[in-house]
Amino acid sequence: MAVPKRKNDISVYTGNQLVDRRQELLDRITKSDTNLPESIMHDDLDLGMLDFVKNNFKVISNGEQVSVIPKILTIQRWGEFTNTWDFADLDGNAKLPFIGVIRRPDVQPGTNPITQRTIPDRRTFYYASVPTWDGAQMGADVYKIPQPTAIDISYDVTIVCTQFRDLNKFNKTVLQKFSSRQAYTTVKGHYIPIILDSIEDNSPVELDTRRFYIQNYKFTLLGFIIDDEEFEVKPAVSRLFLMNEFMTDKGVEKKYINKDIDLTVAKFSSDGNQTQFSVGESIGILFNVMINGVIQERDLDFYHVSGTSKISFPQPPAENDQIVVTYYKGRNSVFIDNFGKPIQVVKEYFTYDGSTLDFTVQNVINSVVTFDVNGLTYDENSGVWQKISDTTLRITDEMFIGATIGINYLY
């Protein structure tokens, strides 16, 4: 039997949906004024669990909502008393039915999947660069944070009641909520998973004692702690240099030529003295550097250290020369588009024979990075060439026979 055909290139998310969603998640956790995520400690996670129970486990019994003890109960007697007096009887006992959340004191090493791969020694990692201004000098601070520490916290959510129907309602509510493996609570913008471990009945149903049902629902919250005591804020190394960059009126001008992969073209205007130009961010892959449209040769006409933001010339370009840097800013030089699809770059050369106007490249063109004739580049609006299909470019202007045409493109 033939293997059914499968479509293996399905774009589930279109456009910049994933980028937007990632940004949205980032915004949720950095709502404070510090440019850093807020601390998440044990008490925050406990509060998240308590809110989860209050908001999701609502049971109506005899026309009234079953009371939830508003705090997590500990060994302090007076604290327990103050949290149950709202629904206490004349003996000071909590009226049935009610729901309580009890945390087990022991907190275990975490099993949260997102932090199972741990980095030793509490090493801190780059989180953000934040501009600073001390009144005289502009600079930036680098914010670094360590990997969050995963912890598992166990809770018993207990319902005490006198009617079987209340048990059924509560059970239905919990099991529907946990029909997937886990449900989520939100702690300071972070989604924290909760897993239902087991359900047990501890009802003391005896003849000559007061009768009621007690059922325990055991949950594990797969949390993590973020301690702001471990955050590092250090001045950026190139603070003074950054000031020079931003003070000049011949600053960088950028445009994106391919939204899918954030391909950037940065333009500078030379002042005749400057030999070093920075695009303000790490250059992952450098495609080319042009002066007045002429492609420059690396390590001859200019220098660039991989991963840095600077382009250096041995001699300053002439005043008002237009310097154009085309690059991909991927932090790790991983060249993939926003859908996770690998993108490759290639340059193909053709010789103009005086008759052939169409030049067909070997791959389907994603984006044309540069089109040059004998090293002089022309953009698509120059009227020199146009793209007539996914693989073919057509010359639309006169040129010398024997001219070398270079097409640098993504596929």
């Binding site: 500990t74 060994i75 003996d91 309580g100 000559d208």
Partner: protein, 170 residues
């Protein structure tokens, strides 16, 4: 008509007249001198609508016959300090109440006291504690409940504290 079998055991020493006299003296003491009064709330088992599956009723859904005051000897156990969950969510469990009531007294009142009925015992002028019958003491065949081996004369009724959701007075 039910058969009646005369009790003639120990007739040389103790008979019906002696039995009645003893009960009369006891009631004089219990009802007259001690005068411990309670209120019996008998559940109307036929008139109460119960859940079709679990035979439960909701709060304040039980129907009762008219309350009846009766006398009994009352013993209440000490309260117990307990918790619902591993020492947390503590509650002070009132002790059980044990009643000793003359069978003759119940017959005079024309009531039957059954498992699951409710009994109110006024602890103070303001506070009535309610109990539910966990043992109605209908079986009185043991020596303790028989007067000198002649005939049973009182019932021991065990009650456990009722929760407000079960019963809170009429």
């Amino acid at each position: 008509m039910e058969n009646k079998l005369p009790i003639t055991r120990m007739s040389k020493f103790f008979g019906q007249e002696d039995f009645d006299l003893q009960i009369q003296i006891g009631q004089e003491y219990l009802h007259g001198d001690i005068n411990m009064k309670l209120v019996l709330y008998r559940v109307d088992r036929d008139g109460t609508d119960t859940d079709a599956v679990y035979a439960e009723v909701g709060k304040d859904q039980i129907k009762f016959f008219p309350p009846i005051e009766f006398n009994a000897l009352v013993k209440i156990e000490a309260p117990k300090n307990s918790s619902y969950k591993s020492g947390v969510v503590r509650y002070n469990e009132p002790g059980n109440m044990t009643l000793s009531v003359y069978i003759h007294h119940l017959k005079e009142l024309g009531v039957e006291l059954r498992y699951g009925d409710f009994i109110g015992y006024p602890e103070t002028e303001e506070k009535v504690r309610y109990y539910t019958v966990s043992n109605d003491g209908l079986v009185t065949s043991d020596n303790a409940h028989n007067m000198f081996g002649y005939k049973p004369y009182y019932r021991t009724i065990t009650c456990v504290p009722a929760q407000e959701v079960e019963f809170r007075g009429i």
